[in-house]
């Protein structure tokens, strides 16, 4: 993403690292991220460009599928982060504090009127495995009571029962399979997603969300990216 926002967040971590190493009580060097680390990303699930702003800077999330979702940026856990998200001249505030090792996706959707809707999808994933592919289903469609991720023509259920504003996860073998999303209560109706061949060790996100007006349900799939923990 390379944004000013990321730079400032990263600098926040560096400051903590230097302080911690200096107060390390005889340790020659620290082990692990000093005081922990958390990760934050933004997802534009609206039909228009989104701008995220803070006192430190701003980042733009265009509407092309390749650029709708940013990478997970390392941030300092326990520090309140504030800013605004804007779609045109409509804005909504953001204020959140991440816990250690937490991964938070801030999903931005547009209502017909009024400010953008901000949904926080919070999780502490533990499914890191270099021999498998990690699939996550994010349900940002309030009309989908139980989202599910399906594989192949037979719609084999991979992830199921994901409530609105929640996330479901599963480790799978790295294969090239057609994926689709559906809502359990609606039976059989599925929306295809383009992900391509999965690679061992990579992590993937699938978003299910409501499109604008009569566009109906939308789905977006992508490979997760993590920004390096560097100054």
């Amino acid at each position: 993403m390379g944004s000013v926002l990321r730079l400032v967040l990263a600098l926040g971590i560096c400051g903590i690292a230097a302080e911690s190493a200096g107060a390390a009580d005889g340790r020659l060097y620290p082990s692990g991220p000093p005081n922990g680390v958390a990760y934050l990303r933004f997802a534009n699930l609206s039909p228009a460009a989104v701008k995220v702003s803070s006192a430190a800077g701003a980042l733009d999330l265009p509407t092309s599928d390749a650029q709708r979702v940013g990478e997970f940026d390392p941030v300092t856990p326990g520090t309140e982060l504030t800013g605004t998200v804007a779609i045109g001249d409509r804005t909504a505030p953001i204020k959140l504090t991440l816990k250690q090792n937490e991964f938070v996706t801030v999903a931005v959707t547009a209502a017909a009127e009024g400010p953008p809707t901000v949904t926080l999808l919070r999780e502490e994933p533990s499914d890191f495995n270099a021999q498998k592919s990690a699939l996550a289903l994010y349900n940002v469609d309030k009309n989908c009571a139980e989202a599910e991720l399906l594989a192949g023509d037979r719609h084999t259920v991979v992830v199921s029962g994901v409530k609105p504003d929640a996330t479901g996860r599963r480790l799978v073998n790295p294969v090239n399979v057609a994926l689709s999303v559906g809502c359990g209560a609606e039976g059989g109706k599925a929306t295809g997603v383009e992900l391509g061949a999965m690679a061992a060790g990579d992590r993937y996100s699938v978003f299910i969300y409501a499109g604008p007006g009569s566009a109906g349900r939308q789905a977006l799939a992508l490979t997760d990216k993590m920004a390096p923990f560097r100054p």
């Binding site: 009580d25 060097y29 620290p30 082990s31 692990g32 680390v37 090792n101």
Partner: protein, 219 residues
């Protein structure tokens, strides 16, 4: 010399366990040479896996050793680090060995930062894989509890198990299998005594030899 590793040009990198005479830069390096390999070793104290991809400054010492020459150890407080990319270009290895774990395990921290460790490890393994080079990752030994490094057997086990599932396509050598918890004496809870490094180096070298002879690592 038994010649088992003849034909291999091995690049060994690691953390502080590789930055002092009689540590792995002496013992493991010697054992690999003894088995017929051409060996180039580099250590950067206190570094994480990502530091070998995104160039860093090393604050507590670095060392390098080539073939049968003596290690060259630099204790300058702010030394420019090496990158895997540069080391591959300079040494043209056909096998990479990574010794790392203690610097990333988060000893003394309540929670284990899986996501962060995974990103660190994957940053390095993907860079090695981009060169189509086989690699072997050596995890941390038990060490001792109750030191200023805050190392605990529970976290060492957690880290080692996590590395085992995170380092692919590298093969994994689980150093905790070589001894019982606390069996190898240390000088500070983390760094072994000279005899400990002799045993650890031999165990690693034997494991690499076994991986080669079994075909798990192709020459």
């Amino acid at each position: 010399m038994n010649g088992l590793l003849a034909g291999l040009v091995i690049l060994v990198i690691g953390d502080s366990h590789m930055v002092t005479n009689d540590y792995l830069i002496t013992t493991l390096h010697n054992d690999l040479v003894q088995q017929g390999a051409t060996v180039n070793s580099y250590g950067m104290c206190g570094t994480n896996a990502g530091d070998w991809v995104y160039k860093t400054t090393v604050s507590c010492g670095e060392a390098e050793r080539h073939g049968t020459k003596a290690p060259v150890i630099n204790r300058q407080p702010r030394s420019p680090g090496w990158t895997m990319e540069d080391l591959i270009a300079a040494n043209r290895p056909n096998l990479v060995v990574v010794e790392m774990g203690d610097t990333m395990a988060g000893y003394g921290q309540q929670t284990f930062a899986k996501g962060w460790v995974y990103e660190q490890v994957r940053t390095l393994t993907q860079r090695i894989a981009a060169h189509n080079l086989p690699c072997i990752w050596v995890g941390p030994p038990w060490g001792n509890e109750g030191s200023s490094y805050h190392k605990t057997f529970t976290r060492v086990k957690e880290m080692s198990d996590f590395l085992a599932q995170s380092v692919a396509p590298c093969k994994y050598i689980d150093s905790t299998q070589f001894s019982k918890p606390g069996e190898w004496p240390t000088i500070d809870g983390q760094h072994l005594t000279a005899s400990g490094y002799r045993i650890w180096g031999k165990d690693i070298s034997d494991s690499i030899g076994h991986m080669v002879s079994s075909g798990e690592i192709k020459k």
